[in-house]
Structures are given as C-alpha cells and as structure tokens.
C-alpha cells in the first residue's frame, strides 16, 4: 500500500517515513504544502498523512481542495494543535482521522491500517480468498493452513491484489500502489514480482488464485 506523508518538520518526516517503509508501506514524503497538494492530486494513494501547519498552503486547505475535487483518499491529520475546536475543524473539513503529536508510532500504524481497510470496504484486519488467509496486522500469510514466507515487496503486492478480490488490476495500478513516486523501478518489475508470488502462493495448490487477464492486468480470485 502507498501512503503520502506531508510534514514540514524534517526530523519527524524522516523518522516517520522510515517507520512507515519498514512497516511495509511505499511512502512519498513532501515537506511543503504546494508540493504535497501536487502529489495528492497526481497520484493515487491508499492513505494520506497530513500535517496542518505547512509552508505555502496549510493542511486544511489541501484537504479542502482534495474533497472539492472529488478525491476520497482517506486522510489522517497529524498535528500539534490539540484543542477540541482544531480537531472538530479538521474532521469537519473532510479528514477521516486526527492524531496529535507526540503520538505512538504503533497507534499511527494501526490507524493507517484502519483507514486502508475502510478504503477497500473491509471491516476485518484479515483477508480471506479461498484458502488464502492474510493477517494485515501481523503481515502473515497462510495458504491451506501452511505459512507462506514473503518479502516485504511480495507481501505488499499480495495485500493489494487481495484487497480487490475478483477485480482486474492493471500493472500500472499495482506499480503506483507499491512503489514510491521517485522509485526508479518501472511497471515491468510488477511482472517479475507476480511470478515470484505465484511460485510461493500457487505452486503447491491445484487451485491457483493469481490469474492473468491478457492486456489488462492481474486478478486474485478463487475459480472453480
């Protein structure tokens, strides 16, 4: 999953970006309001973490413009402004969640997971497709009761496909959701990781779950 972090305080932007990446997210970081707005309008994120006090254009103005443009990306406001009226204003402007600094990293990660679930209309942290079970909290995968060991990138790819079960997902979409904006990798690398994933998920089963739709993309689903 891919997250946009818009935070101007450099030490926090760096450490939080690192923490999110190590937790399996692809993270784009912007330290400026104008740049952050451009990122948000140009790319498709699974969640946006947005500071309010930003140089240039502030976080609430960014949020307002995104909502007015019809973009429903879940947004978590991250700010040192703790007053009730600030929280109310943030949520009423269109934020999905509000977290004040200083915060516990695990709480932030948990709230991001909740936002992502909501984004894909899921209530449970577990995803099940056939006999494939993914625990998004522990980032663990089982197929037919047997644990499957995946690299972070493989897991990110699988989680994204499993969040849209039965949907054909294009190579570009996959790339946009598991690679950062400045990544030098191209969308062709997606094919490589699909093949890695197939070897680990489908090779020991007579019911493959990852299917190719030629010219369109890939789909994760159980077929009879």
């Amino acid at each position: 999953m891919k997250v946009l972090l818009v935070e101007d305080y450099e030490p926090l932007a760096e450490s939080l970006g690192k923490g999110l990446r190590e937790s399996g997210y692809a993270v784009d970081v912007s330290r400026d309001g104008e740049e952050g707005l451009w990122y948000a309008e140009t790319n498709d994120y699974d969640a946006i973490i947005l500071d309010i006090m930003l140089p240039g254009i502030d976080g609430l103005a960014i949020l307002r413009r995104l909502r007015e443009a019809g973009r429903n990306t879940p947004v978590l406001l991250l700010t040192a402004r703790t007053a009730v009226e600030d929280r109310v204003e943030g949520l009423d402007t269109g934020a999905d969640d509000y977290l004040t600094k200083p915060f516990a990293l695990q709480e932030l990660l948990s709230r991001i997971r909740a936002l992502v679930r909501r984004c894909y209309n899921r209530r449970s942290p577990n995803i099940e497709v056939g006999d494939l079970r993914i625990n998004t909290v522990r980032r663990s995968v089982e197929r037919a009761g047997r644990a499957v060991s995946l690299t972070p990138r493989e897991y990110a790819l699988l989680e994204y496909l499993a969040s849209r079960p039965g949907e054909v997902v294009s190579r570009t979409e996959i790339w946009e959701h598991i690679y950062e904006f400045r990544s030098e990798a191209t969308s062709n690398v997606v094919d490589v990781y699909i093949s890695f994933l197939r070897k680990k998920i489908d090779s020991n089963s007579d019911k493959p779950l990852i299917h190719t739709r030629r010219g369109q993309g890939y789909v994760l689903e159980e077929r009879p």
């Binding site: 923490g19 190590e22 402004r81 990293l105």
Partner: protein, 488 residues
Amino acid sequence: MRFRIARGLMLLLLVLFSAIWAVIADRTLRGLNGSLDDSLKSLIGFAAQNAVLRMDSAELKEKADAFLPSWTAGVEEPFLEIRSLDDGRILARSARLRSDYNLLGRKSWKEALKHAGRKGWNGFAAGKHVRCRAKKVSLPAGPAGEGVRPTQEVLFIVAVERDEADRRFREICQRSGIGLGSTLLLAVAGVWLVVWRTTRPLTGLAEDVAAITPENIRPVRVPADPQLALLADRLNRSLEAVARSLEREKRFSSDVAHELLTPLGGLRTELEVALLKPRPAEDLQEAVRRCETMVREIQHLVEGLLELGRLEAGTGKVKWEEIDLSEAVDAAWNNLESLARSRTIAFENRVGTDARVEAGAHFLDIILKNLLSNVARYTPRGGRAWAECEESDHHLLLRVMNQAENLPPGFAEHAFERFWRGDLSRTRKNSEAGNGIGLGLSLARSAARAIGSELLIEVRPGPVVGFSLSLKPAVVARLGGSASKPPS
C-alpha cells in the same frame, strides 16, 4: 440598583413626612392643652375679681355660666368646678355639671393637685371622658380692709370632653394626614419617575456588562445620554484591548504548545522507529544524534521562553558596565560564522573600534546574538550584511542590516511577535538560543527595553532590512572603520 436608589429616597421621604405629621399632631395637642390653660387663667381671674368664695352656689353658677362664653377661649362647653383644699368640698360648679359628675375621675382631690398644672388627667362628666386641668389658688376668704385678710386655698378645675378634643384632634390629623399623604404619594411617584429615567440606560449597560465572559467579549450598547455614551465608549475600547490581549495569550499558549509538541513528536517517533527492529550500531548512533538535536531544540525553546518571561517581568537586574561595541558584535557573530559561511553570506563589522557604550552586558549580548542570528539565517544566499554605528542626538545608534528578498507580508507589523516567522508553518531551521523558533526578535526587543532603549525596524530600498538600537555612550569617540553609509 434603580430600585435601591428609589427605595432609599422613598424611605427618606416617608421619615420626613412622618416627622412633619408628628410635629403637627403634637402642636395640635399642645394647642388644645393651651386652650385649657387659658381657660384656667381666665377662671382664676374671674374668681379673684368676683370674690367667689362668698357667693353661694347659685350665684356662682350664674356668674360662671355668664362668664363662660367670654373665657372659653375656643374650648366648646367646658366644665367648671371649684373645690376647697381644706376638705375637698365642692364650692362651685358650672351649670352643666350635676352632682353625679366626677371631674376628678379615679383620683382624689389631693392626687389631682399633684397633676395640677400642665399634666392634667382624665375625669368623668355626663357619662363621657373629659380632659381636666387644675390650678391651686389662694383666694381671700373675708372682706378687704380688715387687716390680715384670711385666705382660702381652692382648686380650680376646668374640663372639656375628650370626644370633643379627640374630634378636633382627629379632624386636624385627618386633614393634615390626607394632605401629607397625597403630597407623599406624589413625591414618591415623582422620585420613582426621575430615578427610573435616570437609571434605565445604566440598567441596560449593566446587563450588557454582566453578559460579558472571557470566552465572549463583546461591546456594550451605547446609550443616547452623552455622559453614559462617553462611559460606554471608553468601556468598549477597554474591552477591545482586553479581547485582543486574551486572543494574543490564547494564540501564544497554542503556539507554545505547538512549538514544544512538534519536536517532542519527532523525538518520540525517532526513538520508536529506532526500537522497531534490531539495527546496526551506526544506525542507532545516527538516531541518537538526531534525538540530541531535537532535545537541544526543545531546551532552547524553553530557555528562550524563560528568558523572555524574565525580561518582560523586569526581574532581571541590569549590571551597567562599559562595553566595547565593536568587540561585542564580533563576539556575537563568532558562533554564527560557520553557518554564514555555508550560506556564503558576507558580514562586515563597521562599528568603530572606539565606540564604547554603557549597557548591561548580558542584555546587549541577547540583542546582538538574536539580530545577528537572523542575519545568518535569513539573508539570501550570497547576500551581504553589516553592523554599523553612528552618533545621533548624544547617543550611539547601532544598526544591524542585511540584504533581503521577498519580505513576507506584514513583516514590519508582526516581526516582534512571538513565533511569527512570516508563514504559518513555523518551519524551523537550526534553532539556537530561541531563534529559528520565532522568539529571537521578541527577546531582542525585551532586552533592549530592559536597558532603556527601543529596537526599531528599518526597511530601505533594495530591499535592505535591519534593526536599529540607541545606546548610551560611555565615551563619545571618533568612529573608525569603513564609511557608515550602507553600500548601494
């Protein structure tokens, strides 16, 4: 309040009118008694002139009755009795008195004697209560011309019906009471009206003031009355100033919280990420270094706030000493040289080597460090900055100037506000000694005021921007160094 004023005035009127009525009643009563006294005097005069003791009762009655109209003195139908004080025998009575009448009432004639004079007593006559007055008189008992004239002590008693007296008393009291009562009511109504009209605008003002709370400060209505309008106008101005002050404090508290919570948030996240999984020593070292930077930032912010608090409270004592101004500028710039070099900023100290001032060293240090810190951080890359000094009106005017670009809107107005950085982000760059976190100019200004000076902003075409400070010279000497005019 209006009710209290009106009530007070009405009570005063009530007391006043009650006192007047009491005086009238008392005078009426005295008047009645005076009539009785006059009657007594007349009776005694009559008795002296007419040798009443030698008259028989019939003759006395006849003469007394005939005399009555002339000396009743306004007392209608008085009763008359003359008693001997030897034995209490009634010597004469007026025609209206019968034998069963008892002017003495329950008293004996001796007791009546005690009450003779101004006191009087209540007796009975014709089934009615009468008010009696008496006087002891010595009258000749025998004819004149016989040497020693024997005398007889007699008691003259005059009485009048109490009902009559009461009636007259009541009549007078009623008339005066009605008159006084009406006057009182009119007076009360008048007072109430005046008080109501006078205090009505005050009531409105009081209601508006009562509705003001720290969370909701709003102007009061301005009454039509010019005096009250002036009061309301002054009050509104004060309320405006209070509202602005409260807003500033609220914003300041919010800003302080934000300024502290942001590096604290960074610190916490840095530590939690470091502990997320096992890491090599150099990664942990790097994380610790970053934490140390943030801790120093927090420390500087807290120290800056404390210093600002001390300066604004005026609790810091100024230790006046002679200071070499040029050396002070060099010393303050010393710590900023590496930062300035990294941004290729050229700084020139044009303050003459002979410029010596009298100031508090600690305070001058705060001023120079913060002004020069601004220069190092905010002069555009490759720009120039300088410090200069000139004599002006028996003072030394120190200026710290730098080339600038795109001055933020509202700079001249807000530059000294705490945490104001020209944009909303509070983006910090290498904060030290309160600067970079938006307190530098506030500190410098407060320090300037502590040594009796004022820090002023100067903006020149270029743009060139800076601050000037007037200092008391220890020695007004020639100013050395380069030309004092800034480069074009």
